[in-house]
Symmetry: C2
Subunit: 509 residues, 2 copies
């Protein structure tokens, strides 16, 4: 029987079919339960369901088109097979722009075309905390600039993460030559509730499927069990539009690249919606050119304006433009160190440097993920458990996000003067917009070679989160700067109707 | 005739023979004038002389052994040929330790075995300034931590360096199919006076023989003229024990490596004392493994704790240890950016970062050179012209120099815990001394795995230039740290007779 079935669902919302039925064998793995969804326009999706405990199966579907959809259940549970239904898919509600996709090669948009600029944070084990802390985390996120959360399905066993989690996601045992897998339905209901909470706040859930910081064996399950888990998780949460698949954190501490490729194939096959897919490394870069990788998710604990480690150097190599060219995909520095003060080198950046890495990353054409690791007696560190944000960088990251969201979309790495601008990061849109970031450098002036036209030039004080107008300029000009670290110049072409603004004399030192 | 000849000279001092004689042709280039110096022990040096104007030739010699030396002049000026003399070489005076040599592969010592730790600065064009400014520069050096000066022979034409210098070093013209070269004796007398002033202050003169920032043609002279210049300069100043030969600043902006090799051969042949030889690059590293290179002189505008620019990375590559292994020679970062605020990316580092690069370099087994470029109306910037030091880093560099000079010599890159210490720079002497630098990172604690024995641990506050004793520790301990950037730990093995000091409990957080 079908129960509790909605009649309407919004585009990119979740349509859920609930079915009651008795399974033979292991209801999590031994039952075929799926539905084919068909739109009036002829789109067709085959979607797997999952066992939700108490003789209940669910099939969840995210329609990508408004209008009438019909479905038919297919199952080896006789009573369910052939069941049919239909529903109306209506316009998305405000704030629902669909799942995030890659667009313009190096960028992201929601499926409705709205640009999406990831400003992520890490909350690796937040779903494994007690409810009070989870609520505090959600409250913190609501007041934060972060619109992406990196979060593990499996609990974390690591420094500052030694407690047993309230629930384990699954268990497995060998029996008669095969693995008996059992999922903790309560855990997954809890997990998907939090994914949905994020969705309602406009936050993408960058779901980390595997990670090495483990004592329960989740990072070393047999492949058959791994795939049962992936299949179950995909069936449960892929209809949430804010889901991204991050195959692993520090994949290379678990197994080498070649062993992961098959897992990617599996996800590509099972996920009807083609959610974003990436993988994060500890040491060895994954080959992000692989077609199943939608964007490069990189750990890089250092300055992005590095010189090469090789003696045959080119001056001032900017790593993100290099990776963009190498992978032809968006680049997210998903781990660049965390603001904090703990004993580990990856977790004790000053807030200035956390902010700096955001600016470096964004103004060289990439995206950056935040994390926070302030030592605390109670061992609640944001980076993993959530709670309260204590750091000073989020305010500055919010400021940067505002600037980027106000800018024309799809800015690319660009130099006003390739010869002289080796020392700055700059993104822009030729002849229209430039954002030049000076990093720790602190010039008192700078020569700009402006393209044709008149440009409004603003000084951006990244730490003080202030923008000061420097005036209108054209041609080759010398701009006065305050001689302090962490400033940027925002340069915007004047519209014709801006012409009434008085042209200032070129500032000359 | 020989005139004004001393009877005594100290070891590694300059013994000078002055000869009067009329030359046929060009006295700078067409006269053979040299002397063979022989010690009682059988050492023999053939040393070229030079024309010093007004029918005067000089031969300068730096004896490396006390006792009686004899010499005999050889010249194609008949009156001078065969002249003989002798003098006594006496013990060096205080502060005279001889020329600096490479020792222990990666380090420097004076010839008497005293360790020398280069803490250099740049004064590229200071010799081309007016005398008042030169005197101010000397006064500044006297009160500075710097014991090496990078200085050009030729004047500099570049931003903030547009004035015509008081004197040009030389001129040349083509005549009858060969080059007529004339040296400005007054200039070289002036130049060598300043080299000697530095010597008297215990400062090494890292003499830059060629550089590209030129409008007079000195960087594009015919090879024959270049060699006449080198020969003349070597004859004049190689007897000053504090001379180093830096073949070029940014050699690759003048000509490629292969064209410089012959110049190195020439210097090796002409310099009787085997002074240190290096070359500094702009973009392309010189092959510092070449046998004529005594130490790697590197330009590196960035963090030294870089990750490789290559995707096949190893975590936390430390460039100086890598270069040490590559070249098997001492490594000096002779240009890492300058403290200041001018418009160029190489010249506007905050003082904290200038200090940081010294600490990074020194605590990873190398040496670093300072420079200062504060914008000034009068265009007198220390980096090139000298004058007054305005920056805040020299005080901190002095502090570091004191720490290094108090440490056991020849510290090497070392890790107390190779697994966990990827994030710090550390040099030490196994089981005896460790200096761990935390860079911008700011842990509130750190686990140390101390080798056998008891160790005195000091917190070094690099910016505040303070040292705080943290106590005596042994075994694996957790050390409390202040949670601020720019700190180091100095860890020194206790002597047995230190045992009366009360052992503190291990600090635990």
């Amino acid at each position: 029987m079908i129960s509790m079935t909605q009649n309407n669902v919004e585009k990119w919302g979740t349509y859920e079919i609930t079915l009651k039925g008795k399974a033979e064998g292991n209801p999590f793995t031994d039952v075929e339960i799926k539905a084919v969804f068909t739109s009036e326009a002829g789109d067709s999706f085959e979607v797997e369901g999952f066992y939700d405990g108490e003789d209940t199966f669910k099939i969840r579907f995210m329609p990508n088109r408004t209008g009438l959809w019909k479905y038919e259940v297919r199952s080896d549970i006789k009573d369910l097979d052939g069941m049919k239904g239909e529903f109306l898919c209506v316009d998305p509600s405000e704030g629902n722009h669909g799942p995030v996709r890659v667009c313009n090669t190096y960028h992201f948009c929601y499926e409705d075309g709205t640009p999406y600029h990831p400003f992520g944070t890490t909350l690796y084990a937040w779903v494994h905390q007690r409810e009070e802390l989870i609520q505090q985390t959600l409250e913190s996120l609501r007041n934060s600039p972060f619109n992406k959360v990196r979060m593990c399905v499996f609990p974390k066993y690591y420094a500052y993460n030694r407690e047993e989690p309230p629930m384990l996601p699954m268990s497995w045992r060998e029996e008669d030559g095969r693995y008996q897998v059992e999922f903790n339905v309560k855990f997954f209901q809890h997990f998907e509730r939090l994914v949905k909470e994020l969705m309602d706040m406009g936050i993408e859930a960058d779901v980390i499927l595997f990670h090495p910081y483990d004592k329960w064996g989740f990072c070393s399950m047999p492949e058959e069990v791994d795939k049962a888990y992936l299949r179950y998780l995909i069936a449960r949460i892929s209809s949430y539009r804010n889901v991204w698949w991050s195959m692993a954190n520090e994949y290379d501490l678990i197994k080498p690249q070649k062993d992961w490729d098959g897992y990617f194939h599996f996800i590509v096959e099972k996920d009807p919606y083609n959610h974003l897919r990436s993988v994060h490394q500890c040491f060895k870069f994954y080959d992000h050119t692989k077609p199943w990788i939608t964007h490069a998710s990189i750990q890089w604990q250092g300055s992005l304006r590095s010189w090469s480690g090789e003696p045959e150097i080119d001056i001032g190599i900017n790593l993100i433009p290099k990776w963009r060219e190498m992978y032809k995909k968006p680049v997210i520095i998903d781990e660049c160190g965390y603001e904090g003060n703990i004993e580990y080198g990856w977790g004790n950046l000053p807030p200035q440097e956390m902010m700096n890495r955001f600016w470096e990353g964004v103004t060289s054409g990439g995206y950056v993920t935040h994390g926070e690791t302030y030592y605390s007696e109670d061992e609640v560190l944001w980076w993993s458990k959530g709670g309260r944000l204590k750091g000073e960088s989020p305010k500055r990251i919010a400021f940067l996000r505002t600037i980027i969201e106000e800018a024309p979309p799809f800015l690319k790495p660009i130099k006003l003067d390739p010869m002289m601008d080796w020392d700055v990061h700059c993104i822009g849109k030729e002849g229209e917009y430039y954002l030049i970031y000076f990093d720790i450098n602190r010039p008192v002036k700078r020569t700009l070679k402006l393209p044709e036209g008149k440009y409004r030039v603003d000084l951006v004080d990244c730490w003080e989160t202030e923008i000061h107008s420097l005036g209108i300029f054209q041609g080759q000009v010398v701009i006065r700067l305050p001689g302090k670290s962490y400033v940027a110049l925002r340069i915007q072409k004047m519209e014709n109707n801006d012409d009434w603004i008085i042209l200032r004399e070129d500032a000359k030192l």
